[in-house]
């Protein structure tokens, strides 16, 4: 299996991984990699800020739509490149990907 590394900072050309639009670009690359059955290592090094808005678009959408086995096989998130807080966010985004709140539920909470 081909192996590649996606360096998030290079894809978004910034050390701020904050907007869903940037997350969407990362998502597209990861989705394409899965279709081509390549193993992709995801490197988060050098990022000053990583928001959950970014992570939901980059990773959450993958975990919402793909089965776990496929993701475990083709996507490897390099935990060494994440700070403790960023790792915590990634874990919670993965856990919540399949139980996202609807617009009505969000309105009720906010």
């Amino acid at each position: 299996m081909d192996e590649k590394t996606l360096i998030v900072k290079d894809v978004i050309q910034s050390n701020l991984a904050v907007s869903p639009e940037d997350g969407s670009n990362v998502f597209s690359i990861l989705e394409s990699s899965i279709k081509q059955k390549h193993l992709m290592h995801v490197d988060f090094s050098g990022l000053q800020t990583v928001t959950t808005a970014f992570l939901n678009a980059a990773i959450g959408d993958l975990y919402a739509n793909q089965d776990r086995d496929t993701l475990n096989k083709f996507i490897k998130i390099d935990g060494q490149t994440l700070t403790n807080l960023q790792r915590q966010k990634v874990q919670l985004v993965m856990e919540n990907a399949r139980t996202r709140l609807s617009n009505d539920e969000i309105d009720e909470e906010m």
């Binding site: 701020l16 904050v18 907007s19 869903p20 639009e21 997350g23 969407s24 998502f27 800020t49 928001t51 959950t52 808005a53 970014f54 939901n56 678009a57 959450g60 959408d61 919402a64 739509n65 807080l85 915590q88 966010k89 874990q91 919670l92 985004v93 856990e95 919540n96 399949r98 139980t99 996202r100 709140l101 617009n103 539920e105 969000i106 909470e109 906010m110």
Partner: protein, 190 residues
């Protein structure tokens, strides 16, 4: 005095801008359960407002609301995951004892510590503002009313997604136009 409503797309953010960031903006950016519906506040704050050198403000009330919304949204998502309702998984008696609550509470506090407090001047609520809020209340939500009084007293514009603010006459607000929302990233909802 009537407040003004500004659209984020045309507002001239600069180092002369003094902005009180409302709870819903922080929540759209940082809540695990809600940020997938961000209409563009993450991009606006980090790529436009902060680089422009604008001065950001928060208050203990906003931080309290933020932590509360973060954990309540996590509770709702948790109930969906474990297929339980409010009766079988009450917030205080059951959910607050779970690891999920601890993880989400920790995340909320960490975001306050790393993203909100370092970027904002914390303004306090004076007894005068509190007194004004209980004698001359104008909004339908007490917290909103107090936040508006806070903004007015300190000469701040509120960055908010809250209609209660944008329909209010005395506080100036900046918001993302309902017609200019970014929805193209919401693939999972197609």
């Amino acid at each position: 005095m009537a407040g003004r409503r500004y659209l984020a797309s045309t507002f001239p953010f600069s180092d002369k801008s003094h902005i009180l960031v409302d709870t819903n903006v922080w929540t759209f950016i940082h809540s695990v359960q809600i940020s997938n519906q961000d209409p563009g506040y993450a991009d606006l704050l980090y790529n436009k407002i902060i680089p422009a050198g604008a001065h950001l403000y928060t208050s203990p009330l906003i931080i309290q609301e933020f932590v509360n919304v973060m954990t309540r949204a996590a509770w709702r998502a948790y109930r969906k995951r474990v297929n339980r309702d409010e009766d079988t998984c009450p917030y205080k008696k059951v959910y607050r004892r779970t690891q999920d609550f601890r993880n989400n509470y920790q995340l909320a506090i960490d975001i306050v510590k790393t993203e909100i407090i370092p970027r904002c001047t914390v303004i306090s609520i004076s007894p005068g503002m509190l007194n004004d809020s209980i004698t001359n209340y104008s909004a339908q939500d007490f917290n909103d009313d107090l936040i508006m009084k806070c903004a007015e007293a300190n000469g701040l514009i509120i960055l908010t997604d809250d209609e209660d603010f944008t329909n209010h006459t005395s506080a100036s607000t900046i918001t993302i136009s309902k017609h200019n929302r970014k929805k193209d990233h919401k693939r999972s909802y197609r």
